[in-house]
């Protein structure tokens, strides 16, 4: 199971990178950022997997708990990612106000 989970995480990360590199629509760029972030988070969460693990809530009922450290990283990184996306969308609103488009090719300052 674990290789599939890592593989999925890497595939999602790369789809995100491809989206950012190839798409010309600013919203799709932000979607790409979210995908990349999701990939990384899946990778981190997978690294905390324990076979047959139970949630890390005391007292541990019936077995070994999963590794709680990746969970706390994931929580931190989700919040940071959400902040980044919110800021990116705010910037897009401002840019759309100015140019009336979200196509990178038509926005002077973002070409190249």
């Amino acid at each position: 199971m674990l290789p599939i989970s890592y593989g999925t995480a890497i595939i999602v990360f790369c789809i995100g990178l491809y989206t950012i590199l190839s798409k010309r629509n600013l919203f799709k760029t932000v979607i790409g950022l979210s995908l990349m972030e999701g990939g990384v988070l899946m990778l981190i969460t997978s690294s905390g997997y324990v076979p047959g693990g139970v949630p890390a809530l005391l007292p541990f009922a019936g077995g070994e708990p999963v590794n709680p450290l990746p969970h706390s990283f994931t929580l931190t990184a989700i919040v940071i990612g959400a902040a980044d996306v919110a800021l990116a969308l705010a910037f897009i609103i401002k840019i759309h106000r100015r140019y009336g488009t979200v196509d990178i090719d038509k926005i002077r300052g973002l070409r190249g």
């Binding site: 990360f13 600013l26 760029t29 940071i80 990116a88 910037f91 840019i95 926005i107 300052g109 973002l110």
Partner: protein, 485 residues
């Protein structure tokens, strides 16, 4: 003094300024000044307090988050304190105290910068990099009226976030392979990881830091951000923000990968050289003075990356010394360029003719800073380039060394173009001549700092300190011992 105070003081400033806005509007101005002085003093006190490591929450270093003060972080704490104070003073003159949200972001970026410099925990480094970056995107985009600044901020955001995600995936791989996050412990256990995993960790972290610092594959945001931002912010970006990412690059390459994999230094030399050449060539073609300075910053980032790539104590000393020199000179250049561009209401070099007659001191300071950046002996820029050339020759990296020398000639050429314009006679009188007493004072202080730095190799404590930074950092053993004692 506990090192955490250097991080907490700017955070306190950022959290209380909104309360002043709500309850006591009149106190905003004085509180900004007081908090600025407090933050700078606390940073300097922490830097002066000698080497030590403390763990948040009183845990042991493996369990908690460690803050480490060693010679390298001391040097960069001083650099950050000087740069932020200079930029804050210039900002209070340029913007007044009205836009308090700008100052909140300013203090947040200060706190995050000190956090990046002090932290000894890999994930905590990422968290502080995020605060730092988010604040940086926003100070670039200030004021929101300027469309150029908004676009530059957005571009910076996209690049910066991709860089942050590469950092995060590198940290995730390091955690996956070892289960540890403390950098001192990682320095011990990471070399035992499989070779491919190690290469992924190194690759991702280096790519992330390249994008954050503006080294070549990720340099596209830098000229836009530096040239579109307001003058005090441009000075801050060039003087401090770029250096912080380079600090992280020095710290991580030497601590985590120095013993594990020497190939990373070859990569640094390669990309440093490319960055240097590209930066100088692009700067040569610019007509806009702030873009010229921005591309010059790209070239100087390349110089510092080459110095790191020399993989020796001398190389690190050269990198830190050049970081200081570039901070002093480039902050001064951006501040002067801002004043001169405001006089002519244009950033075009061709429009800036005849300004020597109206602002002789500013123009002379510009000449001094430009000569220093270009590396004219005996100024400070020459001294650090000399250190760099010696380190590169020891390493046998002749092509990067030749590129540095060629770059010196090229940068002398493009700075001379700007200076010629200032001294040549003008057809029209400049329309605006607002006095800039605070900026003028800062420019003079920066020029003085540059002269002190030029003498640094001859002043014993400074030279010893610089060499100590190099020898402590290149082995890493002292750092590890300090944290895990």
């Amino acid at each position: 003094m506990n090192p955490v105070l250097a991080i907490v003081a700017p955070f306190l400033a950022a959290f209380t300024i909104p309360l002043f806005f709500v309850f006591r509007k009149r106190w905003i101005g004085s509180s900004i000044v007081l908090f600025g002085i407090l933050s700078a003093l606390l940073s300097l006190f922490v830097a002066a307090g000698g080497e030590r490591a403390v763990v948040m929450g009183g845990w042991n270093p493996e369990v908690g988050i460690t803050l480490v003060v060693d010679s390298l972080s001391t040097a960069f704490l001083i650099l950050a304190a000087l740069g932020f104070s200079a930029s804050l003073s210039a900002a209070t003159e340029a913007f007044g105290y009205g836009p308090w949200r700008f100052y909140v972001l300013f203090f947040l970026s200060w706190a995050a910068t000190n956090g990046i410099i002090l932290t000894g925990d890999l994930f905590n480094l990422f968290v502080f990099f995020e605060i730092f970056s988010v604040a940086a995107y926003l100070v670039v985009a200030y004021p929101p009226r300027s469309w150029q600044a908004i676009e530059a901020g957005f571009k910076y955001l996209i690049f910066g976030t991709v860089g942050a995600l590469f950092l995060l995936i590198g940290i995730a791989y390091a955690f996956m392979a070892t289960g540890q996050l403390n950098m001192a412990i990682l320095a011990r256990v990471l070399p035992r990881a499989p070779e491919t995993t190690l290469s992924v960790v190194i690759g991702c972290l280096v790519v992330g830091l390249f994008i954050k610092s503006g080294t070549v594959p990720g340099h596209f945001w830098l000229p836009d951000a530096h040239s579109s931002a307001q003058t005090p912010v441009s000075a801050l970006l060039s003087g401090v923000f770029v250096k912080v990412s380079l600090y992280a690059l020095i710290r991580l390459t030497f601590l985590l990968f120095g013993n594990a994999d020497g190939r990373v230094f070859f990569v640094l030399l390669l990309f440093g050289t490319v960055t240097l050449c590209l930066g100088h060539l692009m700067a040569f073609q610019q007509e806009d003075i702030k873009r010229l300075l921005a591309y010059s910053t790209v070239a100087q980032v390349g110089t510092i990356v080459i110095a790191i790539g020399c993989a020796s104590a001398g190389g690190i000393a050269a990198a830190v010394y050049h970081a200081f020199n570039h901070m002093a000179a480039k902050m001064g250049l951006f501040l002067v360029a801002g004043v001169l561009a405001e006089d002519r209401a244009s950033r075009d070099i061709a429009q800036m003719r005849g300004l020597f007659r109206h602002r002789p001191l500013f123009v002379l300071a510009f000449c001094l800073f430009a000569a220093s950046i270009a590396g004219i002996p005996p100024l400070n820029g020459f001294m650090s380039k000399w250190f760099l050339l010696v380190a590169a020759a020891e390493r046998g990296a002749l092509i990067p060394a030749a590129a540095v020398v060629a770059g010196t000639v090229l940068s002398a050429a493009y700075y001379l173009r700007a200076i010629t314009a200032f001294f040549s006679p003008a057809e029209t009188e400049p329309p605006h001549l607002r006095p800039h007493p605070v900026t003028g004072a800062i420019v003079m202080l920066l020029a003085l700092l540059g002269l002190v730095l030029a003498l640094a190799p001859y002043i014993d404590p400074l030279r010893e300190g610089l060499l100590a930074v190099g020898s402590d950092t290149s082995s890493g053993a002292r750092y590890i011992g300090r944290v895990l004692q």
